[in-house]
C-alpha cells in the first residue's frame, strides 16, 4: 500500500490524478475502520491533513467555505452560529474522539445513508466543491448522493470543500438511535427554514438508499406558510400543519428493515422528528432567535 502525503493542494490533486484508486484520508474515522475490518485495503492512501485549504474554513462572498477536512469538533465550536444545523448534527456524530478527528469530507466520501452530516447539508442547500487537475466543479448536495455509498465525485477528484450560505432562518436536526450516545442513527432529520427565499428545505437520513430531501413536504409547508401569511405574521404554527408536514416527510422515506430498526419504525420516527423539528424551528422563528 502506497502512502501519499502531499503538503499543497496542487500536490494533492496531482497525486489523485496519478493514483485515481488512492483513498483520501483525513481523520481516518471511516477509512481506517474499513481497513481494520480487513475489508478494503486500497492501493494507496492520500493523507490530506497537511493541505491547509482542506483543513480551514473561511468566508467567501458572504458564504462559508468549509474545508472538507475541518473536524466536527471545530464545526461545533467555531461555526455554531453560521452553520447551526450542521453544528447540531456534528454534536451527535460518533463519540468525542471521533468528532475530534472526523470530517464532513469523510462523511461525504463514504456517502453512507446513515451519515449524520447529510440531512443538515441537504436542508442547508449546501454545495460540494470537487477539484481535480482538470479544474473545479460544484455539485449541489441533493445531486451528490448517487446510491448506497456512491457519490458524484469522479475517481480523479477530491472533495475539497462544502459551501454553505449562513441561514436566514432557523435550522434543526434530530436523530433517533438505539443507544443514548455513540450511535448510528435509526433515522435522522434535518430542517432549515429559509425566510429570505420563502422556502423550506429538509434532509432525511437512514431511511432510504441515499440521504435525500422530502421535496413534497418542503413544497407543502412552504405553500401553507405562504397562503396563511405565516412568514409575515409569525403566528403560531397550527398543530395539524406540523403533523401533516411530518406525514409528508415520512412519505419520502423508503427504508429497509435492518439490525438497527424496522422500516415501519423508521418511517414512524421520521414523522415524529419532522413534526417536532418544525415545531421547534417555528418557535425559534417566532421569537426571531433563528434569524
Amino acid at each position: 500500500m502506497d502512502f501519499l502525503q502531499p503538503s499543497t493542494m496542487a500536490e494533492a490533486l496531482a497525486a489523485k490524478a496519478e493514483h485515481p484508486g488512492a483513498v483520501p484520508i483525513a481523520g481516518g474515522t471511516d477509512v481506517m475502520v474499513e481497513m481494520n475490518f480487513d475489508k478494503h485495503r486500497p492501493p494507496a492512501l492520500l493523507d490530506v491533513t497537511r493541505v491547509s485549504e482542506l483543513t480551514e474554513w473561511g468566508m467567501d462572498d458572504g458564504r462559508v467555505r468549509l474545508g472538507a477536512g475541518v473536524s466536527y469538533t471545530r464545526i461545533i465550536d467555531e461555526l455554531g452560529d453560521r452553520l447551526p444545523g450542521l453544528a447540531m448534527a456534528s454534536r451527535t456524530v460518533g463519540s468525542p474522539q471521533i468528532r475530534n478527528r472526523g470530517t464532513v469530507g469523510g462523511n461525504l466520501g463514504a456517502a453512507s445513508p446513515a451519515g449524520d452530516a447529510h440531512p443538515a447539508l441537504l436542508a442547508a442547500d449546501a454545495e460540494i466543491e470537487l477539484q481535480s487537475t482538470a479544474g473545479t466543479r460544484v455539485v449541489k448536495a441533493h445531486e451528490f448522493y448517487l446510491g448506497v455509498k456512491r457519490n458524484a465525485a469522479r475517481r480523479d477528484e477530491l472533495i475539497t470543500a462544502i459551501v454553505l450560505t449562513p441561514p436566514s432562518g432557523p435550522q434543526q436536526f434530530c436523530k433517533i438511535g438505539t443507544r443514548n450516545a455513540m450511535v448510528i442513527s435509526v433515522a435522522a432529520f434535518g430542517l432549515a427554514l429559509h425566510p429570505d427565499r420563502r422556502v423550506v428545505r429538509t434532509g432525511i437520513g437512514s431511511v432510504a438508499p441515499t440521504p435525500r430531501r422530502a421535496y413534497a413536504a418542503e413544497e407543502f409547508l412552504a405553500a401553507e406558510l405562504e397562503s396563511a401569511g405565516l412568514w409575515e405574521s409569525r403566528a403560531e404554527l397550527p398543530t395539524a400543519l406540523a403533523r401533516e408536514f411530518g406525514e409528508k416527510v415520512k412519505a419520502a422515506g423508503a427504508p429497509i428493515d435492518d439490525v438497527r430498526g424496522t422500516a415501519a419504525y423508521r418511517l414512524h420516527s421520521l414523522a415524529v422528528m419532522a413534526r417536532r423539528a418544525v415545531t421547534w424551528a417555528w418557535t425559534d422563528y417566532r421569537t426571531a432567535r433563528g434569524t
Partner: protein
C-alpha cells in the same frame, strides 16, 4: 520516522500500515493504551494527539510525525498520580482495568474541552457553570466499560470537576 510521545522524541522504523496504537504497543512498549476493538468504537486506545482525545487505532503512525502524543504512561507527575487517576482509584472507577487508561485519557481531554466551552449534544444554549452528571455521561460516552463501572467513573469525575 520520529514520534514524540509524552514529550520524548522516539525514533522508529514503521510500516506505513501501522496504526499509532500498534506503534505504541508493539514498537515502543507503551502498553497502557489498550486495543479493545480496533475500530474507534470503544475508546480503550484513547490518547491525546496534539492535546485532543483521539482513538489511536484510527490513526496511522506515519501521519503523526511532528505531532505530540500523550499516553497514560506520561500522565502521573513526579508528585504522584494525576487527580483523575487518583479519583478513579478512590471511587473504584474500574474493575478489570482494561478500559481504564482510555477512560482516564478521555476524561483529561474532556475536562479541558469543557473548560474551553465546547458544547456537547446535551448542552443547551448556555453551558452549565460546572460539569453536571448528564454532561459527564454524554462526554464520556466514547469509552465503553463492559464491567459496568460507569457509576464509579461518574463519581470520580464529579469529584475531580468539583475540585478544579
Amino acid at each position: 520516522m520520529q514520534l514524540s510521545v509524552n514529550g520524548q522524541s522516539r525514533d522508529l522504523e514503521l510500516d506505513n500500515r501501522t496504526t499509532l496504537l500498534d506503534a505504541l504497543r508493539e514498537h515502543l512498549g507503551l502498553i497502557g493504551s489498550k486495543k479493545g476493538c480496533d475500530h474507534g468504537q470503544c475508546g480503550a486506545c484513547t490518547v491525546l494527539l496534539d492535546g485532543r482525545r483521539t482513538n489511536a487505532c484510527l490513526v496511522l503512525a506515519v501521519t503523526c510525525a511532528g505531532r505530540e502524543v500523550a499516553t497514560i504512561e506520561g500522565l502521573a507527575g513526579p508528585d504522584g498520580l494525576h487527580p483523575v487517576q487518583q479519583a478513579f482509584v478512590e471511587h473504584d472507577g474500574f474493575q478489570c482495568g482494561y478500559c481504564t487508561p482510555g477512560q482516564i485519557m478521555s476524561a483529561v481531554g474532556m475536562l479541558e474541552e469543557f473548560e474551553r466551552g465546547w458544547p456537547s449534544a446535551v448542552t443547551g444554549e448556555v453551558q452549565p457553570a460546572g460539569l453536571t452528571a448528564p454532561e459527564i455521561r454524554e462526554r464520556m460516552s466514547g469509552n465503553l466499560c463492559r464491567c459496568g463501572a460507569y457509576v464509579g467513573i461518574l463519581a470520580a469525575l464529579t469529584d475531580v470537576a468539583s475540585r478544579s
